[in-house]
Symmetry: C2
Subunit: 233 residues, 2 copies
DNA sequence: ACCGAATCGAGAGCACTGCTCTTGACATGG
DNA sequence: CCATGTCAAGAGCAGTGCTCTCGATTCGGT
């Protein structure tokens, strides 16, 4: 990000920010489908065609918002993790989970944008893969650190993954060095369990069934933490 | 559903079916956002306004498709469950999971419609709640049956749910009579873990990381089954 | 200080959407 | 056999994403 030397460059950067800002607000109230270039232009007192000087298409704008959303949840997770005692692995896991949930509840449409149905006709460009795994990187670091410290005590009674899982386990292990295949698989189960819960909660699957979702979430987080072997707490 | 006595009634039912059929195909190729009344009309050789005689609005059509999707996955789950030995509870659980996954992979857009981001501006009417829980009903029956048979042996080392969970547990227990709060919570964790995995798989979160998704899925299903206490198999 | 080049917003316009209203043709049932 | 209700068609409205052109402004090099 260059600071922008000339007046034009600064004005351009400013306007681009404003467009993204308004778009994010629109996203928050209307959802991804309600993203409306003309409404953004109206709010800016510009004509719709002028927007195209800054974002060549609606999809480009969407990509920017997707990257922003991934970055936001990634930063929230990083902050929550950093605020904890590094040796309190179970606490870090819970903090990460609650950070994701708090962010998701505060920004449901942005959560839907990145963890819900893909936008029809939209293909995520390569720029999104970096920000997309920021939260997962933190998660992997917690598990790797806990494993290295020797505090992972996964409950017995669960099946071992088949040998054919070894290849994918190697790929995932880059995020959580050292963990054996068994724990890598459990880590995936815990991670998908976290987002499965949140998707159910945010997308209305809990309606009329689960009232006290905060309580159940806290319990599920502890259960999933134990599944990967994190100490009870 | 009346068989339709008069010619007109039969023609009406037939056309309604055809519209839904074309809409479902459109949904399969374009996604929910690409649902296009005018294109449906074109394909039928009608003019767009005529569609409104059968579906008063686009949302109404969407509701029909949502109910269809819930019904389809519910029936797939019921078939898979019925094909198993009723006493093979672990096998029934696995069959249910694979039925959901097979259906989801075959109909990704319909999966997204019911388990992905809610359609913007669309509020699910009450008609959808019945079909929406058909799969969950089957799931609950399996667990209740296994618990009644005394074959549920949940692994130790997991926390107990807090007393404040009791209220919601009662609501969920209607689907799985007899299960103690602890197992109800685990059942929810397994169920959300199943759909969390599928959402990750279908919505692209596994891209470039997990290749052999079938293997990992099978393992996760067994892991989640064990979590609720179903016997290994 | 100037001037060609790059960039900007405005405006008109295209093809498309969901949806409404009216009109004339038709089948239905008393 | 005729009044009634239903039907498809057509025109039209307000809105969309996006393209193109046209003057005005600003920039960078001379």
């Amino acid at each position: 990000m260059n600071a922008g030397r000339t007046a034009r460059e600064r004005a351009r950067a400013q306007l681009t920010r404003e467009i993204t800002e308004i778009a994010r607000r629109q996203l928050g109230t209307e959802g991804a489908g309600g993203l409306n270039l003309r409404a953004i232009a109206r709010e800016l007192g510009m004509v719709s065609s002028a927007i195209y000087r800054y974002y060549p298409s609606r999809d480009e704008l969407l990509t920017a918002l997707i990257i922003d959303a991934y970055t936001a949840v990634g930063e929230a997770v990083e902050r929550a993790d950093a605020a904890r005692d590094p040796d309190d692995h179970a606490g870090r896991w819970r903090a990460v989970c609650h950070a994701v949930r708090d962010w998701a509840l505060a920004h449901p449409h942005e959560y839907a944008l990145i963890y819900g149905s893909p936008v029809p006709g939209y293909q995520a460009p390569a720029d999104t893969v970096g920000p997309a795994v920021r939260d997962t990187v933190v998660y992997g670091r917690i598990l790797a650190s806990a494993y290295a410290a020797g505090v992972l005590t996964p409950p017995d009674g669960f099946p071992a993954p088949p040998p054919s899982f070894a290849g994918d386990a190697d790929a995932v292990r880059e995020l959580m060095p050292g963990l054996p295949d068994d724990l890598v698989a459990r880590a995936i189960a815990a991670w998908t369990g976290l987002f499965g819960f949140l998707s159910f909660e945010l997308f209305g699957q809990f309606a009329n069934v689960i009232d006290d979702r905060a309580t159940l979430f806290e319990h599920q987080v502890r259960t999933l933490g134990r599944l990967v072997g994190l100490p009870a707490s």
